[in-house]
Amino acid sequence: MKREITLRINGETHKLEVENRRTLLEVIREDLQLLGTKKMCDMGECGSCTVLLDGMAVNACLTLAVDARGKKIETIEGVAQGGNLHPIQKSFVDKGAVQCGFCSPGMIMTTKAFLKKNPHPTEEEAKTAIAGNLCRCTGYVRIVDAILSAADSVKE
């Protein structure tokens, strides 16, 4: 049985028909073709599906689509502004924090939520923030560099 819900994603409103069991991850990838959010494990164990709900980082694979109603949902597609990379994205590029790139959207969403709450983190705090985002390529070294470097340039 499908039900009609409305989701607000990256400032746009979407009317969708979903079953109760659909996760937010499935809906944004399959129904809305927002493919930037990745599915690495589908069990909340890797962070690659991280999106923001009312500014908080959550695993979209463990969020039912129906539970995301009424929330401000942000995905990686909404981070760059008017064709310009967000300072966090720019930092990831400049600091060599991107290798295969599959974990990058999740890392960037986590970083965005984190820096908003903690604009001047220590290295340990940055590592703790991304502890729920697994990376197999970088060893996290340049990602942590990028987060600390972005902290200096994020104004909002």
């Binding site: 959010t37 690495m40 060599g96 590592k127 197999r136 996290y140």
Partner: protein, 764 residues
């Protein structure tokens, strides 16, 4: 030689922008209209005859568009041994061996359909231990393969028995390494699309799309020109995608043909763990002869590779481990007996280092044990025996550049080797290890080739389109190749667009494996770029009425060397060249085969790679004797990569490889139950290190400027994986007084070993 503008610089990755915005499309993101979802039915038994498969109930189910069994996939293939079919018809050989596949309108329907397929099995006795499998009387897994030994790669150089007689000490030790997984972020997936003309388009996260094309066209009996393999960005490979995942690929292809609709098969994370061909378990015995003064006289290594049920890369993996142990130290008496043994378990394949990390682990750990036993400094012992530039090693490798000594010294210096060993602290220890890996390789008997291709067009506006056979699986190869092209052409990096992955537009090559992209891919690009440059200079020479030898290109401008004011833009040259009577385009191509040789079939000796990368790892740990927990205080990872085309990129590769090596050392293990079912196929239970678990890592680049590779470059990615568990185990040994060599070295193993040592002491 002119100063370099692009090579050797930290150029940001050319694909980073599309990756940080989520725009980069990976194979798993590909959606095709009318697509169906496929899933495979797998055996619940480790060894059984298939008596009957009844798919009728599944076929009748609403939403199911095609069901196939092995009768529809009669393709025999493999990597070096042709021992596989996509879906079994006669016998299953491991828990998970596929027997049928369905394509349905969604995944839930496909999974339900699988439940409706009835398979009757007759269980057969199974064997799960390779040493048991090699015994007479063990169940035979593949008919005709005696004692389940699929391959027996050997090296027999010099006289190892004489070497042992001449030694002052002979030590023999046994080591075992565990199965570990690649844990590629993007799970395996493929999408097969047939069109009415009989052409197949196959989207696949491949490391070698042109090889996949050959494999598919051969198996299906259709021309290569009718098979298009498309690889987009790849979410990690590490060797797991260095060959077709035949069951998945062919199931999708045949389901698509039968249903008349595109079919996508995608692994869930647990399938990714079990079926993406992990690093093989090795059981090794290392026997080393050594003189009082520390000179190694000879080494004999026996290696039993637990292959699993099918060969895949198994024989190659067994071979490589042997070859590399004859390439690190100067002893010339070397024997290696490798056995690739079938067992009724999920099977392994190529994983970063392809057999080398495991055998290095055994050899290097033993060397540290020997240093301990003889009261020698492990660093000095290595420096004494290390190969050097100009050596021809036991394995037949000709070392035209070798930075092993510098790597050892740099890693030791960074970790504070001398000072810390002079002032040991309780519960703390240092460990050191070194290694060697190849840059591309000729180790598959009968295949006398190791090549890459590049094609290049310079456009009217002076920008460049470059197509390479190398797939960027995250290693940064596209960026390095772009930098090489930019340097040769004198055209800026951001004017060069490098593509890969589409067999319709990119040249053929072995793709991305064996650490070959920068060097072999790079040489193809360099040669193509040199040709394009020659064409530009010739045309410019005509236009400017100057001899091409008097011309130079820099910043997209062709100028007269002796009169730099006299110049024209590359764009103008290209347009001049094209838009005139008998005009020409500026187009170039190159197929570059690495100057390596196949091994002598008798001894196994040969100069089997164009160049060898060396490296060393030094690790400092502190052990909590109350819990066994090991805190890693520092890691120094030095690497001779010839020339760092992109230093930031190279360091990133090394840091990532250390992460993988530490997991191998401390926390990662594929745990199988008594029937070979994986107990921990989830990211919570299979522990790759999180950001909080990573210690400080110093990646140190050593440049030895190899004479063959582009700008002196050699391979990076795999050498970086070698040596980490060796150094880790040795550091823990120094901290605890105990060599705990059973990987992964968990806190439990450390504590229980310490307790046993204590009670032994008490008993004495």
């Amino acid at each position: 030689m002119k100063d370099l503008d692009f090579v050797g610089k930290d150029v940001p990755r050319v694909d980073a922008e599309v990756k940080v915005t989520g725009e980069a499309i990976f194979s798993v993101d590909v959606t095709v209209p009318n697509m169906l979802w496929g899933r495979m039915l797998r055996s619940p038994l480790p060894h059984a005859r298939i008596l009957n498969i009844d798919t009728s109930r599944a076929e009748r189910m609403a939403g199911v568009k095609a069901v196939i069994t092995g009768e529809e996939t009669p393709f025999v293939f493999g990597v070096s041994h042709m021992d596989q079919v996509p879906l079994q018809t006669e016998k299953v050989r491991y828990v998970g061996d596929p027997v049928a596949a369905v394509a349905a309108v969604d995944v839930d329907t496909a999974l339900e359909a699988l439940e409706r397929i009835k398979v009757d099995y007759e269980p057969l006795p199974a064997v799960f231990d390779p040493e048991e499998a090699m015994q007479a009387g063990a169940p035979i897994i593949h008919e005709g393969i005696e004692r389940n030994i699929a391959a027996n790669p050997c090296y027999n150089i010099g006289d190892v028995e004489k070497a042992f007689q001449e030694a002052d000490h002979v030590f023999e030790d046994r080591f075992e390494t565990q199965r570990v997984a690649h844990v590629c972020p993007e799970p395996h997936n493929c999408t097969a699309v047939w069109d009415a003309s009989g052409k197949l388009t196959f989207y696949y996260c491949s490391q070698m799309p042109s090889v996949s094309r050959v494999q598919i066209s051969k198996a299906l009996g259709i021309p290569e020109s009718k098979v298009r393999v498309i690889t987009n960005h790849v979410g990690g490979g590490f060797g797991s995608r260095a060959t077709s995942k035949f069951p998945m690929d062919f199931a999708a292809i045949v389901l698509a043909r039968k249903s008349g609709r595109p079919v996508r098969i995608e692994y869930a994370r647990d399938e990714e763990f079990i079926f993406s061909t992990f690093r093989h378990k090795f059981i090794m015995t290392v026997k080393t002869g050594i003189k009082k003064d520390g000179t190694i006289t000879g080494r004999h290594i026996t290696n039993i590779c637990d292959n699993g049920a099918y060969c895949d890369y198994g024989p190659v993996v067994t071979n490589v481990g042997g070859a590399m142990q004859g390439t690190l130290y100067r002893f010339m008496n070397y024997r290696y007996d490798g056995y690739t043994v079938y067992t009724n378990l999920p099977y392994g394949g190529a994983m970063r280092g392809i057999g080398n990390p495991q055998v290095h682990y055994a050899g290097e750990t033993q060397l540290n044990m020997i240093a301990d036993r003889l009261g020698m400094d492990p660093l000095e012992l290595r420096l004494k025996n290390a190969v050097r530039t100009g050596d021809e090693t036991a394995s037949g490798a000709k070392l035209k550049s070798c930075g092993l000594v510098e790597c050892l010294e740099e890693a030791a210096e960074k970790i504070g080797w001398k000072e810390k060993r002079a002032n040991p602290k309780p519960n703390r220890g240092l460990g050191i290890a070194c290694g060697v890996h190849f840059t591309g390789v000729r180790l598959s008997p009968g295949i006398d080739a190791d090549f890459a291709g590049a094609t290049m067009t310079v456009n009217d506006d002076g920008s460049v389109n470059l197509a390479t056979s190398c797939v960027d699986i995250g290693s940064g190869s596209s960026t390095a190749l772009t930098q090489i092209a930019a340097e040769v052409l004198g055209i800026e990096v951001d004017k060069i667009n490098t593509i890969f992955g589409d067999t319709e537009t990119c040249p053929m090559g072995w793709g991305s494996r064996a650490s070959r992209n920068t060097a072999i891919g790079g040489m193809a690009v360099q040669k193509a770029a040199e040709d394009a440059r020659r064409q530009i200079l010739e045309a410019a020479g005509v236009k400017m009425e100057v001899h091409p030898d008097d011309l130079e290109i820099r910043n997209s401008t062709v100028f007269v060397k002796s009169a730099p004011g006299k110049s024209m833009s590359v764009a103008d040259v290209v347009r001049f060249n094209r838009y005139r009577k008998d005009g020409q385009a500026v187009m170039a191509k190159y197929h570059w085969d690495a100057p390596s040789q196949l091994a002598d079939p008798e001894t196994g000796r040969g100069n089997f790679s164009m160049a060898f990368s060396f490296g060393a790892k030094a690790i400092e740990v502190e052990v909590d004797p109350g819990t066994g927990q090991v805190h890693i205080l520092d890691v120094a990872a030095s690497q001779d990569l010839g020339k760092a085309i992109n230093p930031l990129g190279a360091m990133g590769q090394i840091e990532g490889a250390v992460h993988m090596g530490l997991g191998f050392a401390m926390s990662e293990e594929i745990a199988l139950d008594e029937t070979g079912r994986m107990k921990n196929p989830y990211l919570l239970d299979y522990r790759v290190l999180t950001s909080l678990d990573m210690p400080p890592v110093s990646a140190i680049l050593v440049e030895t400027n190899d004479p063959i590779g582009p700008y002196g470059a050699k391979g990076v990615g795999e050498m970086a994986t070698i040596g980490t568990p060796d150094a880790f185990v040795s550091a823990v040994a120094e901290a605890t007084g105990l060599y705990i060599t059973d990987l992964p070295v968990t806190p439990e193993k450390v504590l229980l070993a310490l307790k046993r040592k204590k009670s032994k002491k008490k008993a004495q």
